[in-house]
């Protein structure tokens, strides 16, 4: 689902423009109370254009028209923000829908195979899919093995192997079998398949307001009502002083005071947050899950594949007596010259890292001895007759002894040292001479240590789960810098840990792929299943990582935090703006009746009319100006909450006070040249 269109393609923008007009429909507007108030203001000012004395006093038509136009644009801008966010999701959904054509399925009915439309398939049906055919629906392989192209959902072009039983048995409708054939049991009814859910999710059809969004919305509505009361009571108070306030001026004041900036951008922020997760190739089943991920206290990670590469890599050459490490390395490299296994390549990489050369010419024309389960070693028979081998220590030992060689004294000691440190030793030998050992280590992925460091600063605890023995687990845990580990862990252990953490009030996230992970995924507050995983795991999770990269959970946390931060920062900004707007509009409202009010005109705005219009224009254009920020999210770097608050308070709180003063003054200066 990698997006093909650019973030702001022309097509997307033109569609959003259309939508922003369609969304003017009051029925749709009513969902956003803040902007609905603006629309009511618009309707009143339109009424005043045609019936200037509808409220007794007749008002300046030119000013009234200006107010109406600015209000219209304020609403359009807000609609545009929402439409743009929605549009990006829709574009993705459309491209997915294209792949979801009707497929002819070969349903097995007793002995027969009947061709039916995929829409007729029901849960439990058995179908056969052969090379070159689309898989007609979500299901589980019950027989056979095939390679499947899942690029339609993952965007990953390399095919994956699917086979009956085990953790690689689930297949997704709309993906293509590119070799062999499989028998599948369908696991979903039409309209409920994974693809269908994905489409509706990215389309936003299922978008429900998240708890946090509801809370914020309540506050915004409350502020709107408060300012409504302020503005509605004001003309009565003014009339006591024989000051007449015209309706368009009051509407302008109201619209400026109510939190239109955040009100206009709120749904866009939510949609864009979900979208950011999706763009990251993670499918969140609900916005709630994304928000929850921002609150995570503990992350449970599998060691293999998440923290470490999972492959054992050469990390050191340990020579036997009478040899140097470089010698061991040279022969190990010779033996690995044509070895394409990760272990073999890692030997060559280690040599490169040490800046050691090895005689490449030796291996030319040599006979390759492949690794076999019986021999448990591999190597080369060189053209000069020498035989180079590397392999399991006891296998090599036997091989050397069988050629009449002797076993060096410290071999066993070295072997034990490596094993007890959690590594795997490989012996290197040439004919009857053992040169030494290759220390194979499960290597921590590059950058993981830094990420765990970041998480610690964010207050997130990391727990590593591994099937390794405690010694190995401790070594890796220390190297990776995780806070805690569970060695020799079983799926039950994971649930136990999750429950333990949750009992302390913590929110727990975990990743998993196997069926036996499903209960733990369901127990966790945020469970991310790998797309390569089983159906059960995916059903239990509330997010699915389409790239099957377990370490992505860290980014998901950041996105969740960013989502909340964007809301909070823009709310603060929006409310802080009111100070400047007051100083623009209040003196302007009363300056005619009370000339001394000029003292409050601290921005020295040109005229009452230009002051009010400038504030109103600023109020409108700040929305589109902030759209990119709402879409992208407030910049987030992992740091302590105090630092983060100080930073955001300065940028959006202090900035929220200052920016409108500057903005309104600038707009006023520009307006002066026209008026």
């Amino acid at each position: 689902m990698k997006s093909k269109s650019s973030m702001m393609s022309r097509d997307l923008i033109s569609k959003a423009l259309q939508q922003s007009v369609i969304k003017l429909n009051p029925k749709l507007m009513a969902r956003n109370p803040v902007m609905f108030v603006v629309e009511v203001g618009l309707i009143i000012s339109l009424l005043l254009i045609f019936v200037p004395n509808a409220f007794g006093e007749s008002v300046s038509t030119g000013f009234n028209i200006a107010v109406a136009i600015i209000l219209l644009f304020t609403i359009l801008f807000a609609n545009f923000a929402e439409a743009l966010a929605e549009g990006r999701g829709k574009a993705q959904a459309d491209s997915m829908k294209n792949t979801q054509k009707e497929i002819i399925a070969n349903r097995i009915e007793g002995e027969q195979i009947v061709a039916v439309s995929s829409t007729q398939l029901r849960k439990g049906d058995i179908v056969k899919v052969v090379q070159g055919e689309m898989i007609p629906g979500d299901g589980e392989v019950i027989k056979g093995l095939a390679s499947v192209d899942e690029s339609a959902i993952t965007g990953e072009s390399a095919p994956v192997i699917k086979e009956a039983g085990g953790d690689f048995s689930s297949v997704t409708g709309g993906t293509m079998v590119i070799s062999d054939e499989i028998i599948i049991r369908i696991t979903s009814d039409p309209g409920e398949s994974f693809m269908d859910r994905m489409i509706s999710l990215v389309e936003g059809a299922e978008r429900q307001k998240t708890p946090n969004e509801i809370a914020l919305n309540t506050v915004l509505i409350s502020l709107t009502i408060i300012f409504l009361m302020v503005v509605v009571t004001l003309p009565f108070m003014a009339s006591y002083l024989n000051i007449v306030l015209s309706v368009p001026v009051l509407i302008a004041l109201l619209v400026c005071l109510i939190p239109t900036t955040i009100g206009g951008l709120l749904s866009a922020i939510g949609i864009a947050g979900m979208d950011r997760v999706t763009r990251f190739n993670v499918l969140a089943m609900s916005g709630k899950a994304v928000e929850a991920s921002g609150d995570i206290n503990t992350i449970i990670l599998d060691k293999t594949g998440t923290i470490t590469y999972g492959n054992r890599m050469a990390s050191e050459f340990v020579p036997t007596e009478g040899h140097s490490p470089q010698e061991v390395g040279e022969w190990a490299a010779v033996s690995s010259a044509f070895d394409e296994t990760p272990e073999g390549r890692s030997v060559l990489e280690l040599m490169k890292k040490q800046n050691w050369e090895y005689p490449q010419s030796l291996s030319e024309g040599a006979e390759i001895i492949e690794f076999r389960a019986e021999t448990r070693m591999s190597g080369l028979d060189l053209t000069d007759g020498r035989k180079v081998r590397k392999g399991a220590v006891d296998a090599i030992r036997k091989w050397v002894v069988s050629q009449g060689g002797t076993i060096p004294d410290n071999l066993q000691a070295n072997n034990d040292a490596i094993a007890s440190a959690g590594g795997t030793p490989l012996a290197v030998a040439v004919d009857q001479e053992i040169y030494g050992l290759i220390y194979l280590k499960d290597t921590v992925k590059a950058g993981m240590k830094e990420r765990f460091e970041q998480m610690r600063s964010m207050g997130i605890k990391t727990i590593m789960c591994t099937g390794d023995n405690p010694l190995t687990a401790a070594t890796i845990a220390r190297e990776a810098g995780v806070d805690d580990y569970i060695a020799e862990s079983t799926p039950e252990d994971k649930i136990a840990v999750i429950r333990r953490e949750q009992a302390e009030g913590k929110l727990v996230a975990m990743t998993g792929d196997g069926t036996n992970d499903a209960p733990a995924l369901a127990q966790a507050d945020v469970g991310i299943a790998m797309n390569s995983g089983t159906v059960a795991a995916k059903e239990a999770a509330n997010m699915i990582d389409l790239d099957s990269d377990p370490s992505k959970i860290i980014e998901v946390v950041a996105i969740g935090k960013q989502l909340l931060m964007t809301r909070g920062s823009l709310t603060t900004f929006s409310i802080a703006n009111d100070i400047a707007k007051y100083f623009a509009i209040i003196p302007a409202m009363f300056m005619v009746a009370i000339p001394q009010m000029q003292v409050l005109n601290i921005m020295n705005l040109h005229s009452p009319m230009s002051a009010i219009l400038s504030a109103l224009i600023f109020n409108a254009i700040i929305i589109p100006i902030l759209i990119p920020l709402a879409m992208k999210g407030v910049a987030y770097k992992p740091m302590s909450s105090t630092k983060l608050l100080r930073r955001n308070l300065f940028i959006y709180g202090f900035g929220g006070v200052v920016v409108p003063f500057v903005g309104i003054k600038c707009i006023d200066l520009i307006m002066q040249t026209f008026l």
């Binding site: 914020l216 408060i226 004001l234 609150d295 605890k461 929110l507």
Partner: protein, 556 residues
């Protein structure tokens, strides 16, 4: 303003700062539901009260607690109403005071029950001794005790403890805090020259040879609870400007200390009860900062005096003395005005109507914010409500579901708080507009000052302050009923909603604190608290304030 004025103010304020902490801890101790040392002293008395009242002291749910508050307060209110309406025939009425009119009795009963003490009557001519000594004094004890009890229950709730029992809390607030101090201070006030007698008048022979009737009464005891309970209602119409209610500089200082005592202590009580004294200190320091700003502006404005008089070339080294007692002076009067509005007491030792526009604005501002200490208990409630708003905004800004004291602030709590926020502007702005439109003839000064008069009356009612700007012909059915309704709703609405918030937070599982948690015990949060008060609380009133005191100031 002489250097002594500054010193007087500084000394008083420093004493208030010093006694706040131990008092706060004492209050926390007094309400500790686990057996403690104080029980030995007070339990023998309380035991009888509980027995007599049938109080078992079981923990209440927030609904039961709120219900107990509402019902008990309403019953007392009705009894007081009956006393006011029947005082003519009731005993202890040597002056033969007549029954109160229905609307005035309605207003007065609500006024004293809600800790407002807005007085649309004059004590000497409006109330019998019986009314003063039963209805008024009784409510003067029960209403601050109610406020303190609710605040304590709220703190218990947000820290996850059971809310407690309203009746037990009410009794403790009286037996352990209000009554002992009142007893001592009443003696001190009598010692300072306040009358304490059941006679209502003494007759004096003046130098000119005529007879003068001077009103007296049981004033010493009245005064002590008036100030300590943040009540503020005067025995006499002139309140603490009357020499018998405020004989001199020392009694003036004591009164201010008593007004500030409970409101300034409660943040420390809060800190103690949540188990992190820094939590309370941050809020305390934030409020002290706001208080100092308010006080400075008021003092400066009153010192500069009235520009119109200055233009006449009249020397006024003493500052603006219009409406102020000469024996107290400008500085002590301004200070008193700031203290009485900040602590939502409402006692006055000068005419707030004659404050300079800016000085009047400060008095108004204190009541509009209602968070610069605030009244007994309810002040802290209001402060914690703004703290939760600050937590909500800053929690979002650090990318987490906002947490306060380890409990998540979610939709339900924010809904309750959002409604609570609405109520104050509604209760101030709408009635003010109505009054200005329909009751213009009861307002003594037309123009900006008249607007301020009406605004002040409703702000004072809504904040349950009770000080009057005066200058209103306010003993009319309109003012009596309207302010009565405002006082009642304002007092109990927020108590109920905030108890609901406490009930909701109590039930939540606490979230452990990590480095990702927003710290609410640091200076940064104090700043965020002040910002929330200003942005959410103060901005609302900016337009109306511009039309009232600010316009008056600019056009003087």
């Amino acid at each position: 303003m002489s250097i002594f004025s500054y010193i007087g103010i500084a000394v008083t304020f420093i004493i208030a700062l010093i006694i706040a902490r131990p008092t706060g801890h004492y209050i926390a101790h007094a309400f500790d539901n686990t057996p403690n040392r104080l029980d030995r002293w007070f339990h023998p008395i309380e035991k009888w009260i509980y027995k007599f009242g049938g109080i078992k002291g079981e923990n209440q749910t927030w609904k039961q607690y709120a219900g107990a508050v509402l019902i008990s307060n309403t019953v007392i209110l009705l009894i007081a109403y009956a006393i006011f309406r029947l005082q003519h025939v009731l005993p202890l009425n040597p002056a033969g005071i007549t029954n109160m009119s229905p609307d005035l009795a309605f207003n007065t009963a609500i006024s004293f029950m809600t800790n407002t003490n807005l007085q649309h009557y004059s004590g000497e001519s409006g109330l019998s001794l019986f009314s003063q000594m039963t209805a008024i004094i009784f409510m003067m004890f029960v209403s601050p005790a109610t406020g303190i009890a609710v605040a304590i229950a709220f703190i218990r709730g947000i820290t996850g403890k059971p809310l407690g029992n309203f009746f037990t809390d009410l009794v403790r607030a009286i037996t352990r805090i209000l009554l002992p101090l009142t007893f001592i201070m009443a003696l001190v006030f009598v010692g300072l020259g306040m009358p304490q007698t059941l006679h209502t008048v003494v007759t004096a022979q003046t130098l000119q040879g005529t007879e003068q009737q001077i009103g007296v009464g049981p004033i010493g005891s009245f005064l002590a609870i008036k100030e300590l309970g943040n009540n503020g209602g005067g025995y006499f119409g002139a309140n603490s400007a009357h020499p018998f209610e405020n004989p001199g500089g020392f009694s003036n200082m004591l009164q201010m200390l008593m007004m500030l005592l409970v409101p300034m202590s409660l943040p420390f009580t809060y800190g103690k009860m949540v188990g992190n004294s820094k939590q309370g200190r941050v809020l305390f320091v934030s409020m002290v900062m706001m208080f100092v700003v308010m006080l400075s502006v008021s003092l400066a404005s009153e010192y500069q005096g009235n520009p119109l008089i200055n233009q006449l070339g009249i020397q006024h080294n003493a500052g603006s003395m219009e409406g102020k007692e000469v024996r107290l002076g400008e500085a002590q009067s301004s200070f008193y005005s700031v203290v009485t509005t900040a602590s939502e007491t409402g006692a006055v030792n000068n005419m707030h109507d004659t404050l300079t526009p800016l000085g009047g604005l400060i008095a108004l501002g204190n009541m509009m914010l209602n968070t610069v200490f605030g009244g007994s208990g309810v002040g802290l409630l209001n402060i914690l409500m703004y703290a939760i708003i600050a937590v909500f905004l800053s929690g979002l800004m650090v990318g987490r579901t906002p947490e306060f004291l380890g409990r998540k602030i979610e939709g339900k709590e924010m809904k309750l708080i959002a409604v609570t926020l609405l109520i104050q502007p509604l209760l101030v702005l709408a009635p003010t507009a109505i009054a200005l439109m329909t009751q213009a003839d009861t307002i003594s000064n037309p123009g900006y000052h008249g607007l301020t008069q009406a605004l002040y009356e409703f702000t004072s009612s809504a904040a349950n302050n009770g000080s009057g700007f005066e200058g209103l012909g306010d003993n009319t059915p309109f003012w009596n009923i309207m302010t009565g309704v405002v006082m009642f709703i304002s007092r109990y609405f927020s108590m109920v909603t905030l108890l609901a918030v406490a009930g909701s937070l109590m039930a939540k599982k606490p979230v452990p604190e990590t480095s990702g948690t927003l710290r609410t015990d640091q200076a940064l949060f104090g700043g965020m608290f002040i910002i929330s008060v200003i942005l959410v609380g103060a901005l609302t009133f900016f337009p109306v304030v511009v039309l009232g005191p600010i316009a008056e100031m600019l056009t003087l």
